[in-house]
Every structure is written in C-alpha cells, then in structure tokens.
C-alpha cells in the first residue's frame, strides 16, 4: 500500500514536461562538473592555439563564448521559466549598440558602456516583459518576437547611428584608460571570465528560493498560485535578469567584431539562440553553452562545405524538433533510462 502510494507520487513528481527540462536531464552536480571541465578546457585553448600556430582559433572561440553567454541568459527564461522568448537577439543588439553609440561620442570605457547596456536592456526588458507576461503560450512567443523586430526596425531606421549599414568601431573599449582589450587573448579571457561568472551566478539564482518559485511556475503555474505565490513578478524579474545578461554578451560581441549592425537583432538570431539552448538541453545551464559550441561549429564547418549549408542546418533543426525531444541531452537520457517514463 505504502509502496504503491509512493510510486504514484514519483510519477506525479515527474510530469511529462520534465522529460525535456530541468535537472532531471543532468543532475545539478553533474552539470557543475561538466561545466568546470568545459571551462578548464577553454582556459587551456590558447595553449593549443599557439602550439598549432592558429591565432584565429582564439577569435572563433571568443565569438562562440559570447553566444554561449547569450544562450545561457536565454536558458534562465526558457529552461527554468518555460517562457519561450523569441526576441532575445534584441538584448544582444542593445548591448552591442551601447558600446558603438557611446564610443562614437568618445565614451570608451567598458565599465561605463556595460552599465549603460545593462540599464538600457533592463528597462527594455521591464517594459516589454511587463506587457508580454500578461499573456502566455503562443501569444508570448509572438509578442516577444514582435518586440524584438521593433528594436530591429528602430535601429535600421536610426540613420544617425549607421542605420541599415551598421557602425564600425574604430577601437575596442578601454578598461580604466588602458587598451588591453585590443589583444585578442585578453578579450578571450575576459569573455571566459564573464561566462564562468554568469554560469555560477545563475546556478546560485536557480538554486535559490527565487529559482524554486520560477521552476515551480514552469512545472505548474496553477499550483504555485494556489499555494499563494504570484508568478508574474518572479517571471518578470527572471526576464529582466536574462535580458541584462544577454546585453552583456552584446557588449562583448561589439568588441569582438569591432562592428555593430541591426543584423545582430534579426529574429533569425533569436531563433538560433533558442536552437542553441534546446540542442544542449534546456534548464541545465551547461547545456546552452555546449549547444552554442555545437551549433556555431556546425555552422562554420557546413558553411565551408556547401554554399547552401542553411538547408542542411534547417533539416537538422526540423529533425531535432521532431525526433529528439529534449535535445541531445534528452536523447541521451532516454537511452540510459531505457524509456522508463515512456520517453
């Protein structure tokens, strides 16, 4: 009798949605170990780059880590809050434009630029999030997409700051007057440090009481309301945090490419961020980082092979959505568990 009762309880504790999300896929400790190994490997990458004499490796790795940071930010709302934001590229763009616009007015310090980027992105997230979160499901997806496009068209028509052509940065941001970021190696380690910091900060956030409410809302919003929580403010806070971190990624993106254009805010960019999170396994924090590495490397590799590589990428994404619920991590988990919960 007690056995049967606990069995049903176990089933209830793992709703269908859990098959693809949350620490059910990768245990909390497992995620931290995987991330630490990943970060250590990245930290040693410059040694490899100098050994095989390929400085471009560092540039590529920096770019990948920038997107990993943005994907990590998206995981907070997508993986832990079940909010499918299709407008996250806007925050990337806000970060990048904060650097470009301030720098064109002579403000080149990265600390000032980052503060402005975080402030602007938080404000944008607060306003658009407050409106978008009044709805849910399909509406939420469409509205975040529309707000993302609004930001995109705004920058396209803002001809004072390059408009459609974008802006070239004459030099990278300075740190307290010094131009250390001009070195690709220094920028690499700065971005890596930001990624590591963001990972462990978000891990703490997700594990905190705030994170538990957020995850509870993801799994069952009605129950959370029934036990006296108001999910709205928690979701909005997560949305603002996520937007601010994505803007930080934008600050680094501008410095890495030394060029900023509205294309960074294109909705296809938002779609790619979602793909990164889902490939790697959403709600795991380490997954999105792995997903960013996988997607961008695959893109780079396919682009060299075939002019129409996007076709192959599209087929892969469709197959990913149709056949591997929960991305690579979910497929691996079903393999190990032998479909105990019916996949």
């Amino acid at each position: 009798m007690t056995l049967a009762a606990s069995d049903t309880k176990d089933d209830a504790a793992e709703p269908a949605i859990e098959n693809r999300r949350g620490f059910g896929i990768v245990s909390r400790e497992g995620a931290a170990v995987a991330a630490t190994i990943l970060f250590a490997a990245l930290a040693l990458l410059p040694l490899l780059a100098s050994a095989i004499d390929d400085p471009f490796l560092i540039v590529t790795a920096t770019r990948i880590m920038v997107f990993a940071l943005a994907a990590l930010a998206l995981d907070l709302v997508l993986g832990f809050g079940a909010m499918v934001s299709f407008g996250h590229a806007a925050f990337l763009g806000i970060g990048a434009y904060s650097v470009a616009i301030l720098s064109s007015h002579g403000v080149e310090d990265i600390l000032v630029q980052t503060l402005v980027a975080l402030g602007t992105a938080s404000l944008f997230a607060l306003i658009t999030g407050a409106i978008s979160l009044r709805t849910s499901g399909v509406y939420f997806i469409m509205i975040t997409l529309a707000f993302g496009q609004m930001a995109y068209f705004f920058m396209i028509s803002l001809s004072a700051y390059g408009g459609d052509d974008g802006m070239t940065l004459w030099n990278r941001s300075t740190v307290l007057g010094s131009d250390v970021l001009e070195s690709d190696l220094v920028l690499f380690y700065v971005v890596l440090a930001a990624l590591v910091l963001a990972f462990f900060a978000l891990r703490a956030v997700v594990g905190s009481r705030f994170g538990r409410v957020l995850r509870g809302t993801r799994d069952n919003a009605t129950r959370m309301r029934a036990i006296g929580f108001s999910p709205y403010s928690y979701q909005l806070t997560a949305y603002v945090m996520s937007g601010a971190i994505a803007a930080l990624a934008g600050v680094f993106l501008a410095n890495q490419t030394e060029f900023v254009s509205p294309a960074y805010m294109n909705w296809q960019r938002s779609g790619e961020l979602i793909v990164m999170v889902v490939i790697g396994g959403m709600g795991t924090l380490v997954g999105p980082i792995a997903g960013a590495i996988a997607l961008l490397l695959a893109e780079e590799w396919l682009a060299n092979l075939w002019e129409h590589y996007k076709l192959v990428l599209g087929v892969l994404i469709v197959c990913l959505a149709l056949f591997t619920r929960g991305g690579i991590a979910g497929a691996a988990r079903r393999l190990f568990r032998g479909g105990r919960h019916g996949g």
Partner: protein, 308 residues
Amino acid sequence: MFNLFILQALNGIQFGILLFLVAAGLTLIFGIMDLINLAHGVLYMVGAYFVAMFTAMTGDFFLGLAIALPAALLFGILLEILIFRRLYERDHLDQVLATFGLILILNEGVKMIWGAAPMSVQIPAILSGSVPLIGFVQYPIFRIAIIVAGLATALGLYVLVNHTRTGMLLRAGATDGPMVSALGVDIKRLFMLVFGLGAMLAGFAGAMVAPILSVEPGMGDSILILTFVVIVIGGVGSVRGAFVAAILVGLVDTLGRTFGPILLRSAMDASAAGQAGRTLAPMLIYILMAVVLFLRPSGLFPARAAAV
C-alpha cells in the same frame, strides 16, 4: 494634402488586405490546431515564386495565377503531411523549432531553385495604368484589383466560415477540437484542409504582390512578423478579428510613415522631425499592439475568451 491622404489611405487598405490574406490562414491554424507556424510567411514567398514561374512559362499572368493557386494548396498539404501533422500534439517550443528549421530550408531551397537574385513579374496589360479617382488623384488599377480581389476573398471566407457545414466544423474545431473529433468528424482531414486553405490564401497574397514587389528569398519573413501583430491585435483564431486588425495595421503603418514626419514638423524643426518620424513610424504598429494588449490581453475579438 487631402489627395495625399486619400492615396495613402488606399495604399494602407491595400496593404491591410494582403496582411489579412496571410493572417486569415494563420489565425485559423492557431485557433483550430493550436499550432504556432512561423513558416507561414514562407508560404507567401512560395506563392510569389510559383506565380513568377508559371507566368514566365505560360506567358500570361492570369493563367500563371490559375496554376499557382492549386500548386500552393498542394504544397501546403504536402507540408502538412510531412511535418505539421507531427506537431499538433507537441508543445509550442517544438513547433517553433520545427517551423524555424522549415523557414531555413525553404528560404535556401528557393535560392537554390530560382537563384538569389530578385525576380520580377510584369503587371498584366488589362490591369496596368491608373484611373482618376477624385480630381487629379490617379490610382494604379492593379492596386485596386488587389483590394477588390482581397475583399472578394474575405467575403468568400466569411460565407465559408459562417454559412457552410465545413465552416461550422471549423468554428466548432476552434472552440473544442476533441469534442468535434468525438462526435465522429474526421478531424485529421479537417486539419489538412485548413492547412491547405491557409497555404493557398498566403500563396494568393504572395502571387498578387509579385507584380508590384520584387520576388526574392526572405520576402516572407517581414510579412510574418506583421501577421503576428495582426493576429495578436485581432485575437487568435478569429477571422473577423484578423480582418479588422489587418486593415487597422495596414492603415496605421502606411499613414504613420507618410504623416508621422509631417505632423512632427509642426512641433519641431524639419530635419529633426524627418529623422524622428522615420525612426518612430515603423514602431507605431508595435506600440498599437502593446496598447491593445495592455487593454485587452486576448485581442479585440477573442475566439476563445475562456481559453486565453
């Protein structure tokens, strides 16, 4: 100034009609199958390519259109069988991913088949030129034809949805799909039909703009976003809401782009007004959407008031 207003209002209505044709199918698909289809804009593009190809093959726009429409319908049904059928039961994230992948495939596929360079279609001889409206105001016949064809389609849809057995099933399906299925209706066939119809309507819109816009890869992406705005304002699943919202969005966007800078000029100096107007005008419809959502989170005409 008044003449300009009339012209731009007509342009706005014509734009709104096109948005409606794309939005009508999409809102039905949302409402009935609870499916978010990002690839609907690509169907608009495919329609434009079909008409460009068949017009070039037959040498006649109307003949090309007559072949392009069933082709778009079949293409929609093919996609439904291959991909969308598998997505109805999935959550929205899977739908977003699969249809996002489909956009990449179709945009790139179009580039492979027809090349990346824009294609153009000649305006048919009977519909070229313009007619005088009031006084000196001239308006292109082809744009009037778009408005008329769009209104006729809207009327046809209205009759189909409200006064036929199929329409009754559609409305019932939008309210409670499982119940319709339980009552013995082949809901799979109904879904396939809705999807094909939606694809054909989007293809029709694409076919009609082919002579006045350039036909190019990615042309469906921008209209998709506007269609979402239309659906959000009109209310998911409501064809009537889509019509009102489409005309509203078409008018606000077109008039805003023309008169925004002019209105601002009375408040500030000319160059600043021009700059601010050009920057703010494209944002007007999104602001409109935000306001509507703030006041009525489920749109102007919610089809399922309780569900959203």
